[in-house]
Amino acid sequence: MKVLVPVKRVIDYNVKVRVKADGSGVDLANVKMSMNPFDEIAVEEAIRLREAGTASEVVVVSIGVKQAQETLRTGLAMGADRAILIVAAEDVHQDIEPLAVAKLLTAVIAEEEPGLVICGKQAIDNDMNATGQMLAALLGWPQATFASKLELGDGRATVTREVDGGLQTIAVKLPAIVTADLRLNEPRYASLPNIMKAKKKPLVEKTPADYGVDVTPRLEIVKTAEPEGRKAGVMVASVDELVAKLKDEAGVL
């Protein structure tokens, strides 16, 4: 069974995000970019399935600017077998909406025919938490989102999901879309030899036109603003002072 993992190139989670002064967006020029952390978890899960003999091949796919190559190479260095890059944007500031991403992935899936797709639960830039669900809808496949445990067998995936009340376990028919939550696994670091090897693994480049998909956005970004700041308050010297402040000044006790 082939496993497909869509991976997104996003601002590194350690970088302090700056909103551009003209309100047109977030400054992404010369900022460290990395693979979306949830997608590292998705890649790790796919590789483990191959190592366990359940999966035969792991294919990573990214949609975005040309530099998303680096993100795909990271996936290959972790252990994915090959990569597909769909160059859909020229400028890093141009993001492709989940609906368009899902349509492109639908076309890739028609060609590749994977038995399982593992996405990240959300991309940490736009925090939309949508692509996997939209992809499942377009394919008419079942979805198992926010996965913290995945087991395959008998043409089904049994998935434990992190939900508001705790955990829910469901079984979905394969092929299916799974989206990875934080506690699905701890992704490995790519070793130097594997980084070298990854340079030789196949990476093909495509464009949305190759798949006949229109990526015109449905949402217009009117503006991007800094959130209202919070000022630091005061340091208290003791528990007694804290209790007094909470009672008398804050009035919350």
């Binding site: 940490i124 925090d127 939309m128 499942a136 999901r161 508001d164 469901i170 208290v236």
Partner: protein, 309 residues
């Protein structure tokens, strides 16, 4: 303009807090019809009918809707969506699972975690872990959105009940089935609606030590939260995680204990009215956003605080 709002129904019961916050958020978008779906949903529908600002309630009962599996619930919503300009829901894990599927089936974009409604087409939402607020305008014929409950005051519950109508349930696609739930019963208030929250981080050090946090919470009648590090380390269950990828809370009082204040954690609590931080490291970033900071060892400060409250 008319709004179809997916009520938050779990095991036949309405989550009144989340649903009435979404009703309040959707108020300016048009007349609100609440959909209550489940294996049994009649009681929930009856309760939703009393939320002020609700014009009508649709009740859909079928075994296939029992555990809010996305495939069946999305198919139901799509069968009803034709009459509405907006399909909305509170931004719970259930709705975040279901609504993007609905949007794709309608060939429209979903707008997740809306924190402000500007007009019928324009919405504000936090991006980059809350480090930026984006205003987006949708050109889609139907807007599908989830509303961040921490951003809206709950609509009141009145005496005049809106009419409840039963709707037909489309045949379930049979793609998925429920196996089991692991839900810890608790007498504590629910995290996202609690007026007070006490959260513990990696500094708490162990599963056993987390009892200190729970004791303080119980003294305050507070819900218990945790940082990702505390959950990953097994000190606290996953549904206690507060942050960018956990729950978003905005209580009157938030006490962060042994939490450093990473942006991913702040994304889930920085709209709290009063923030208290207890951390032994004076330089911890959490102090930069706390109203009251106490640089102290939590193992002495927390028991003392519990006792003196």
């Amino acid at each position: 303009m008319a709004v179809l709002l997916l009520g938050e129904v779990t095991d036949g019961k309405l989550n009144l807090d989340a649903t009435s916050k979404a009703v309040a958020g959707a108020q300016t978008l048009g007349e609100v019809t609440v959909l209550c779906a489940g294996a049994s949903a009649a009681d929930a529908a009856g309760e939703a009918a009393k939320i002020e600002g609700v014009a009508k309630v649709l009740c859909a009962e079928d075994a296939s809707l029992g555990h809010r599996l996305a495939e069946a619930t999305a198919a139901l919503i799509v069968s009803l969506a034709g009459d509405y300009s907006h399909v909305v829901a509170p931004a719970t894990t259930d709705a975040k699972n279901i609504l993007p599927r609905v949007a794709a089936l309608l060939d429209v974009m979903v707008i997740s975690d809306v924190s402000g409604v500007v007009d019928a087409d324009t919405f504000e939402r936090p991006v980059y872990a809350g480090n930026a607020i984006q205003t987006v305008k949708s050109a889609d014929p139907v807007k599908v959105l989830t509303l961040r409950t921490a951003s809206f005051e709950a609509a009141a519950t009145g005496n005049d009940a809106a009419p409840v109508e039963t709707v037909a349930v489309p045949e379930a696609p049979g793609l998925s089935e429920w196996v089991e739930d692991h839900v810890a019963a608790s007498d504590r208030p629910e995290l996202t609606s609690a007026k007070r929250v006490v959260s513990g981080g990696r500094g708490v050090g162990s599963d056993e030590n987390f009892a200190l946090i729970e004791k303080l919470a119980d003294k305050l009648g507070a819900a218990v939260g945790a940082s990702r590090a505390a959950v990953d380390s097994g000190y606290a269950p996953n549904d206690w995680q507060v942050g960018q990828t956990g729950k978003v809370v905005a209580p009157e009082l938030y006490i962060a204990v042994g939490i450093s204040g990473a942006i991913q954690h702040l994304a889930g609590m920085k709209d709290s009215k009063i923030i208290v931080a207890i951390n032994k490291d004076e330089e911890a970033p959490i102090f930069q956003i706390a109203d009251y900071g106490l640089a102290a060892d939590l193992f002495t400060a927390v028991p003392e605080l519990t006792e003196k409250l």
